[in-house]
């Protein structure tokens, strides 16, 4: 990684945060501080704005979105020589876009939590639902099934028995179907994790792979495949009590969990992302967790301000 890449990544993260429309006044102030901290920061932001200006093309706005996306996803004929599968991919993506457009409407029944917030809900069938921070689910119950669509984040549900209506949790990677049981579902960006606390559930991935998961087991899957079936370590639901328990996990995973509990930018340098650690950390006091991590790992945590924290390798004294 060139030194600039880290700064460009940071700048892009700030832009994405500010454009989300959800940045707080504190985060905006932190961004101003970041931009003022180094003339390079200001320059990179200006260049990104310049790139955005290329989109202010009047002919683009008038173009139907499907048409625009279909065209941009056209396989490149230069690459077609190298890989015939690219055009197949383009068609699959288009089919996905059209399918969603016509088959799926947003609706009421959304339950959500904010950064640093955990909440318990009782669903209309009596099932108990707990949401971890930054989680969004949509409940769609009807006469034939009880469907919870997990859009992002992590949930734990204790399902009320109803033999007539199966209880289904759906993520972008697949569906989990139960009759009466207790389990935890975490939707990551590249996978879904299911942890069975009681009884059993049948998983069908979006691509059609099937797996029955029993109490005490943990299943990792993505849209295509079952990735891993392991013994649950019993710590996955510790967030219910505001704790983060890890045993031999990479730092990147721990920081991801922590991000749900912090506003602003928490930048993790790739050099230390794979460091492994075990421990018990307080989720609701992420400042303290970061201090604890700094004490036990060869990392340096730099507090530019409370909304902007970077984690980098500490320099071993013998190299100075």
């Amino acid at each position: 990684m060139r030194p600039d890449d880290a700064v460009i990544d940071e700048a892009a993260q700030w832009m994405a945060l500010l454009q989300s429309g959800e940045a707080s006044a504190g985060e905006r102030a932190a961004f101003d501080a970041w931009r003022a901290a180094d003339p390079r920061h200001q320059r990179i932001i200006e260049q990104m704005d310049g790139g955005l200006n290329l989109l202010r093309h009047p002919d683009l706005r008038g173009l139907p979105r499907n048409s625009l996306l279909h065209s941009l996803n056209a396989p490149s004929s230069r690459r077609r020589f190298l890989s015939g599968s690219l055009s197949v991919l383009g068609i699959a993506v288009l089919a996905g876009l059209l399918g969603r457009r016509y088959g799926w409407l947003p609706e009421a029944g959304e339950l959500a939590t904010d950064t640093g917030e955990r909440r318990d809900f009782t669903l209309e069938d009596g099932s108990a639902l707990s949401l971890n921070a930054r989680t969004r689910v949509v409940a769609q119950f009807d006469a034939t099934q009880r469907l919870l669509a997990l859009r992002s984040g992590e949930l734990l549900v204790n399902v009320a028995k109803d033999p007539a209506r199966p209880f289904v949790v759906e993520t972008e990677h697949g569906r989990m179907r139960a009759l009466g049981t207790k389990f935890l579902v975490q939707q990551g960006d590249d996978f879904t994790r299911l942890v069975m606390l009681h009884s059993q559930v049948e998983v069908v991935t979006a691509g059609g792979a099937r797996q029955v998961v029993e109490a005490g087991e943990s299943l990792l899957f993505n849209a295509q495949d079952i990735l891993a079936l392991e013994h649950s370590n019993g710590q996955e639901s510790a967030w219910m009590q505001g704790r983060l328990e890890v045993r031999d996990r990479p730092l990147s995973e721990v920081i991801d969990s922590l991000r749900r509990y912090r506003r602003g930018i928490l930048h993790l340098s790739p050099e230390v992302a794979d460091l492994r650690l075990s421990g018990l950390y307080p989720l609701d006091d992420s400042d303290r967790t970061l201090q604890l991590l700094e004490r036990s790992l060869p990392i340096r945590v730099t507090w530019h301000n409370s909304y902007w924290v970077s984690i980098e390798p500490s320099i071993p004294p013998n190299t100075l």
């Binding site: 460009i8 990544d9 989109l55 173009l63 139907p64 941009l72 969004r136 992002s152």
Partner: protein, 169 residues
């Protein structure tokens, strides 16, 4: 123009005499079509003419090859985009028949966006355009694409990096 040339024009003139045929042959080997090879070679020299300081060119053939290659890729990509655009018109529920002029403008716009977002996944492109052109929120985009809001935010991060790189090129 008289007989007295400035160093700029003389330099280009010499380059043209020495390297035009060579460039036509090189491009022709790649394209397999001598006719379009001449077009590409001419266009390449036109681009060289607009360079701020052609007298500083040390390796004329390397430069010509680079520009010509970029033009060929651009030409192929333009064809790809045009084909896909016409395809999408045919797929549209209501038939649309833009005039040749409108079509040409759209293709130019497509080419500019394509260059900007080149290398991003289809979903990342869609997310970025839904946000920038339609003003959808990250959660609306997530719903439309069937991904989590945090994934949408990551798409945005990637797209902003591309914006930066596009301005560097």
């Amino acid at each position: 123009m008289g007989d007295v040339q400035n160093p700029h024009d003389r330099m280009i003139g010499q380059m043209f005499q020495k390297d035009y045929r060579w460039l036509c042959a090189a491009v022709g080997r790649t394209l397999g079509c001598p006719h379009s090879a001449q077009d590409i070679a001419s266009e390449t020299f036109l681009r060289v003419l607009t360079l701020p300081d052609p007298t500083a060119i040390r390796e004329p053939r390397a430069l010509l090859t680079t520009i010509a290659r970029r033009l060929m890729y651009e030409g192929w990509r333009r064809q790809d985009l045009e084909r896909a655009y016409l395809e999408s018109l045919a797929l549209a529920p209501e038939p649309v028949h833009p005039s040749p002029e409108e079509r040409a403008l759209v293709i130019e716009a497509l080419l500019a966006v394509d260059r900007l977002l080149n290398g991003l996944s289809a979903k990342a492109k869609a997310a970025f355009l839904y946000h920038q052109l339609d003003g959808l929120t990250y959660s609306e985009i997530g719903e439309r694409l069937g991904v989590s809001t945090s994934r949408v935010q990551q798409y945005m991060v990637e797209a902003f990096k591309r914006c930066y790189q596009a301005m560097q090129a």
